[in-house]
Amino acid sequence: MSPSTRAAFHGLVSRGIPVLYRSTVWDACRKYHASGSTSAAPAPSFSDLVDTPIPAQTAAEIEKDVDRTFPGHSNFSSEKEHSQLQSILTAFAAAHPEIGYCQGLSFLAFSLSLFFSPDQTLDVLSFVVIDILGANYFDSDMKGRFADMLVIQHLTRAQFPRLFFLLEAHEVDVGVATFSWFLVMFAGLFRDMELTFRIWDVVLSEGSPVFLFRVALALIASNEDSLIALLESMGDEEEEEGENVNVNQRLTDLPLQWTDCDALIRSAYKIALPGESAFVSFFAGSAGTKVAFDEEVLRLRARYKEKVEEGGEQEEEGDDSNEEGEGGN
């Protein structure tokens, strides 16, 4: 793809892939990005994978979760859908024994299955999990997910120092509060699933989770002032007694406030490093230009991944992380 074609493509994708073409485009993105990383051996077929024995405990965990995945969704009332989701997750566990089953996968799998046949769903799910989020998001100790919790903390501190300081003072951990956002890539977290899929349009076409961080920061940015006001009022005894405020929940539930797809995508693209022009980052990355924010996220991901791998799971207080210090006023 030439840079100008790519820019045009990403420009279109960011405006939303029409539902009719979504599965075609997502699958093409998978083939484009995953092509280099697959092994030479022919992949086992879906039906072979479904019949491959998996550990009894994994099978039991899958069975338990199938009923507990979007229980209210209208597409998910019949036995057929249940057994389909079960076979997709079983095949995934057989194809990726290092992961097996991890809670959260059923939400990704089900959301994808709205667009694909079971065997295609498996392919795209593998693309999302292995190539985009990383297998260590879902393996036995989830270190990848853990590392990204530190990344979002770091980014929040850099973008919203005053808010971050107040959150810390109230022992609210942004990484913990936004845990599910990243794990299931916002599946089921917006009132309208179309918002999730608009995010996925960008994430799948980029083949990278960076846009998830943009969305996360955009969600926080939209509530920065009200969260600060809330946290400041919490020092105030009377306020606290009167209202049952709950900052953790407020943060986790931020996606529920959004219904406008375009506005969300636009806000996410506007996130920039301090000093970086937001207009530069708008679509520029897709044209092959290096975007400072995106580069920073990649750098932080690599750095915290290394840190977590080393076993240093404590919050880093050393090196450059103290620079914002007491922040705020």
Binding site: F70, S106, E241
Partner: protein
């Protein structure tokens, strides 16, 4: 004059942790609830009866603000659990009374919490889904006496509950409050605590008075 009490729910997947929280906080029950991704957070402010009487022999009570962390039960998530129980005042470790394997996990959680949580952390073992017993379609997997004697041996509290039939759910939180060290005589420092809370005043204030006024 309220007191914040942090409670974490632990236990293997599908034993009803989220249902217990939902029942307690909103008085609702959903037979087909969603599995918990990572952890969920809920809070409830309520007036709780304390164990001791005041000077006139009347019951005493206190406003308690429960901050409840409900965790995902799958084994993999165990590495994340310390983030939730680290500063908890109480851990409710839940199992399904009809499922022996889920009771096996209780012992692992108890050992972990005893070793890593704050010393004053109250441990409540909850046998959930008692509605399934006696004609409800299930059988008790572990004798009640056995569980009770185990829980006694670890200095915990044992409560049988049903989120579905609204049995024992309030007791979990009532007993936690009763067992919390220092909850009775905290009133005076409260005004101070309110504004200072969070600014790394952790533990020090509350862990100190090790016994309630009744003991």
């Amino acid at each position: 004059m309220s007191r914040e009490v942090k409670v974490v729910l632990l236990g293997t997947t599908g034993v009803g942790k989220s249902s217990l929280v939902l029942r307690y906080v909103t008085s609702q029950f959903h037979p087909h609830s969603e599995s918990t991704i990572g952890a969920a957070f809920m809070s409830k402010m309520t007036l709780m009866k304390l164990k001791c009487k005041d000077g006139d022999g009347q019951d005493t009570s206190k406003i308690v603000k429960f901050q409840i962390w409900d965790t995902a039960g799958q084994e993999k998530y165990a590495t994340l659990a310390p983030m939730y129980y680290r500063s908890s005042d109480a851990a409710a470790i839940v199992y399904d009374v009809t499922n022996a394997a889920s009771y096996g996990k209780v012992k692992e959680w108890v050992a972990e919490v005893r070793e890593n949580a704050e010393r004053h952390c109250v441990v409540v073992v909850v046998g959930n889904k008692v509605d399934l017993l006696g004609g409800g379609g299930g059988e008790r997997a572990v004798a009640k006496e056995e569980v009770e004697s185990y829980v006694r041996s670890i200095g915990g509290i044992y409560i049988e509950a049903s989120a579905k039939d609204k049995i024992g759910v309030g007791d979990i939180f009532q007993r936690i409050v009763e067992e919390l060290p220092g909850i009775h005589d905290e009133g005076d420092e409260d005004s101070e605590m309110g504004s200072m809370k969070g600014f790394k005043l952790k533990g020090g204030g509350r862990g100190g008075g090790d016994s309630g006024c009744c003991s």
